[in-house]
Amino acid sequence: MESYPLFYTFHFYLFGIIAVASAILFVTRKSPVSAAMWLVSTMFSLAALYVMLDAPFIGVIQVLVYAGAIMVVFLFVIMLLNLGQPSEIADVRSGGWRLVAGLVGLALLAEIFALTRAHSVPGLAIPRGTAAEAINSMGAVGMVAGPLFTTYLLPFEVTSVLLLAAVVGAVMIGKQRRAADAR
């Protein structure tokens, strides 16, 4: 088992527990706005975890894209549809669904314990500290950008087509169709 400084371990557990607690508060809130706020808290703690796991660039992108852009879009839609108040109809599903959810949750938790007992493959593992060295030699951005623009160039280009399709689709679905309704 690798050993880490106590300072590191403490903060890793601290941010992990904040993330899980915020996520629990997020699924139990009635009002969509406070749920979204707790989800933002989860995403910030995850960004801290990414930085501690030698992925500072991914941590920054997490704050910018997830907490910044995606959650703002969510809050914007909540504001646009005026859903700030908890809904008057029951929001949480009743009996049977809760039982199903509990069973699925238990099954997934059982899988966690199976996973933590699994051994990692020694042949595949890279030496500890490789990622930190890569940050020192190539920079935090270069470490991700290098493989992104060489090995994974085709997936990167396909992603841009996906984003274009999503933008066009969102505009088409979201726009008012008064003219079509009138006909």
Binding site: E2, T9, F12, Y13, G16, A19, F26, V27, P32, A35, A36, L39, T42, L46, L49, Y50, L53, A55, F57, I58, I61, V65, Y66, I70, V73, F74, V77, I78, L81, L83, S87, I89, A90, D91, V92, R93, W97, R98, V104, G105, L108, L109, I112, T116, S120, A125, I126, A131, A134, V144, P147, L148, T151, Y152, T159, A166, G169, A170, V171, G174
Partner: protein, 97 residues
């Protein structure tokens, strides 16, 4: 830290699944899906440290797909709200036979 990160990632994913199964508000269900994507990203980053940097590139792609999904999904929710004046999934059953 690999085992701890996977543990937190799995717990977050489980919370997301339970949220999707128990809530009826379409927007909250959608945010639960985002939480599940985030949980997967955490295991990608953790594995990237132990098995090579490719995992961080995959996180990049997952985030792009999440952004595209949020744009289209929220547009669908807005269109649905215009049609039905609600986002509660109990009232949205036009595809039910």
């Amino acid at each position: 830290m690999l085992a701890e990160a996977i543990f937190f990632s799995a717990v977050l994913f489980t919370i997301g699944v339970i949220g999707v199964l128990t809530r009826r508000n379409a927007i909250i269900i959608f945010m639960c899906v985002e939480l599940m994507l985030n949980a997967v990203n955490l295991s990608f980053v953790a594995f990237a440290r132990a098995y090579g940097v490719a995992g961080q590139v995959f996180v990049f792609f997952v985030m792009t797909v999440a952004a595209a999904e949020a744009a289209v999904g929220l547009a669908i929710i807005i269109a649905m709200f215009r049609h039905k004046q609600t986002v509660n999934l109990q009232n949205i059953n036009i595809l039910k036979g």
